[in-house]
């Protein structure tokens, strides 16, 4: 037995508001029946067909309101509705112009928005941890150049210096894991780590628990699995906790005992990579401290100063000008690609400017072809405000369509581009690539440029006074 497909919710709700009361029941029923018939061949087409039908009903209802208001009293609302309806008709008369403009603006803005979204996600989005600001590490280039003083955080840790400024300092070793548990063996990415990683990142498992410091010390074979592994390999079965699976590290081949699954990580657990599927305890003293969490209230500069003093006190041979340098984990992650991304963002903004120039040309050309229409309108008594209002309404429709197309293009392109970008720049997107969607800043930019390209250019170009006409001083024309 098949259930009746549901039409798109927003459109259906809109229909209930705009359809004439007398007709609503039969009209909604007819639309639903036709929708169900179309749904059988293509769901997506049926949904868009339904939305289109409701849009046409909205226009028809607007025309009805316009007529009624016009008869009784002509107010601001009437004019607005009249303008929108006649704008729609004007665009229908020249569909090619509308299509070219919408495609040009939508595609170029969408592409730019996709690139800016990616750049923004890298450069400005904080790492997805509660205390992201307090996570600190050595700069990548630091230490390597130093022969004597600590070359890495692990050395500071061993000397007991790190504990002065840090409350947590997890050690991490990224490795491949081969899972053999009866089903086809697979190799996934995973981490060997200490118990304090979870506290440092503020990660709580959705099922089970994380491992304890004692388990790490005693080398208990326990492991956490990622949310996606849990869903894909174990079909989200809660009894996975307690199950035994044989894990073998690709690099650390020394451990092959069956591991007991003790927990499932939250969805989108991200530690510099979204594909982390296994987290297992690290053998004591074998991994490197990757970063540390500053003690509450300790600034990054005071911490660097304190560490410098401690190191200098311990090693009398240290060059007096030498200083410990620290940077936020976030900066460490994106610093090498900051310049590249900034340059690409600038280039993309230039692309937006070029698109704007093209749109301006298009609008100017169209205005030339409509001088007669405008002259007729003003000869029939349309004042400056009326003609401008009409142009604004027309261009607002164009703006909405371009904006919509741009957002669709941006979302699709972002999803398609991120994996390639991650590979190219050698850094994963903070928070994982599935989280890259156009943010507020990007959407605001797209909206602003859509409006400038349509309303501002369109009205400026279209509202010139035809030569010799005094009736229509919307904008003063230059002498010919």
């Amino acid at each position: 037995m098949s259930t009746t497909p549901r039409p798109p919710r927003f459109a259906a709700a809109l229909l209930a508001r705009v359809a004439p009361e007398h007709w609503y029941e039969s009209l909604a029923g007819d639309l639903m029946e036709a929708f169900a018939a179309r749904h059988r061949t293509s769901r997506i087409r049926a949904v868009w067909w339904y939305r289109w039908q409701v849009f046409r009903i909205l226009l028809a209802a607007a025309a009805r309101v316009r007529l009624r208001r016009f008869i009784h009293h002509g107010g601001l609302m009437t004019r607005l509705v009249t303008d929108v309806v006649s704008a729609w008709r004007a665009l229908r008369r020249r569909p090619r112009f509308a299509l070219i403009l919408i495609t040009l603006l939508g595609a170029s803005l969408g592409t730019s928005a996709a690139v800016l979204t990616i750049a923004e996600s890298y450069l400005w989005r904080p790492l997805p941890y509660p205390a992201a600001d307090r996570l600190v590490t050595f700069p990548r280039t630091f230490g390597a150049a130093q022969a004597r003083p600590p070359q890495d955080l692990s050395a500071l840790q061993r000397d007991g210096l790190l504990a002065e400024v840090a409350d947590l300092a997890p050690a991490i070793d990224v490795d491949g894991f081969t899972i053999a548990d009866g089903a086809t063996p697979t190799t996934v990415l995973g981490l060997w780590t200490t118990a304090d990683l979870f506290d440092a990142l503020g990660v709580r498992p959705v099922l089970g628990r994380t491992f304890t410091a004692e388990e790490v010390a005693a080398q208990h074979p326990v492991a956490l699995i990622s949310h996606s592994l849990w869903i894909e390999r174990y079909a989200g079965d809660p009894s996975v906790v307690g199950r035994r699976l044989t894990l073998r590290g690709v690099e650390r081949t020394d451990v092959t005992t069956p591991f007991t699954v003790i927990g499932v990580l939250p969805p989108r657990f991200w530690h510099l990579d979204e594909r982390i599927a296994i987290v297992a305890p690290l053998k004591e003293g074998t991994g490197d401290v990757a970063f540390f969490r500053l003690k509450e209230g300790t600034g990054i500069e005071p911490a660097a100063t304190r560490l410098t003093e401690l190191v200098a006190a311990m090693n009398p041979t240290v060059d007096p000008g030498w200083r410990v340098r620290l940077e936020r984990l976030q900066d460490d992650h994106v610093e090498p690609i900051r310049e590249l991304l900034s340059a690409v963002s600038l280039a993309v903004l230039m692309l937006v400017l070029i698109a704007c120039a093209n749109v301006a040309m298009l609008q100017a050309t169209r205005a030339l072809g409509r001088e007669q229409e405008m002259a007729i309108r003003s000869a029939l008594g349309a004042g400056r405000a009326r003609v401008c209002g009409q142009l604004v309404a027309e261009n607002l429709l164009l703006a909405m369509a371009s904006f919509g197309l741009a957002i669709l293009v941006a979302r699709a392109l972002t999803a398609a581009l991120v994996p390639a970008v991650e590979l190219y720049v050698g850094r994963t997107l903070p928070g994982g690539f599935t989280t890259a969607v156009p943010g507020f800043r990007v959407i605001a930019l797209v909206a602003a440029v859509s409006l400038i390209g349509t309303v501002v250019f369109g009205v400026l170009a279209g509202a010139r006074v035809p030569p010799g006409s005094e009736a229509w001083p919307c904008c003063r024309s230059r002498p010919h």
Binding site: T4, W23, E25, G29, D30, A34, A36, R56, I57
Partner: protein, 104 residues
């Protein structure tokens, strides 16, 4: 009262459909027989106008599940509607007569 082109088409489709003329079937017939893919808004606007002119009358049917429990509104051409359609078609025929093979 004169008939517009859409009004003619809708009246003819309704006549064809006899007792089964409602929004979906009328739109479907116009699409299949006349090659006109009209939006439901257009079909209803025309139906409404024809009803106001007295060329159509309507009754509500029974609710069905596939329509979300909503009833159909069946349309029937009135005597006045048939007369208007005849007059309108006669005018068309009178005007096309004598134009030769282009308009048989």
């Amino acid at each position: 009262m004169a008939l517009g082109e859409l009004e003619q088409l809708v009246l003819l489709a309704t006549l064809h459909l006899r007792d089964d003329g409602y929004g979906v079937t009328i739109a479907q017939m116009l699409r299949e027989k006349a090659g006109r893919d009209l939006s439901m808004a257009t079909v209803y606007t025309t139906l409404e106008r024809l009803e106001e002119k007295g060329f159509l009358d309507s009754r509500m049917g029974e609710p069905t599940a596939e329509r979300g429990g909503r009833r159909k509104r069946f349309f029937r051409v009135t005597a006045a509607g048939e007369r208007a359609l005849r007059d309108s078609l006669a005018a068309l025929r009178a005007l096309t007569a004598g134009l030769g093979r282009k308009f048989p």
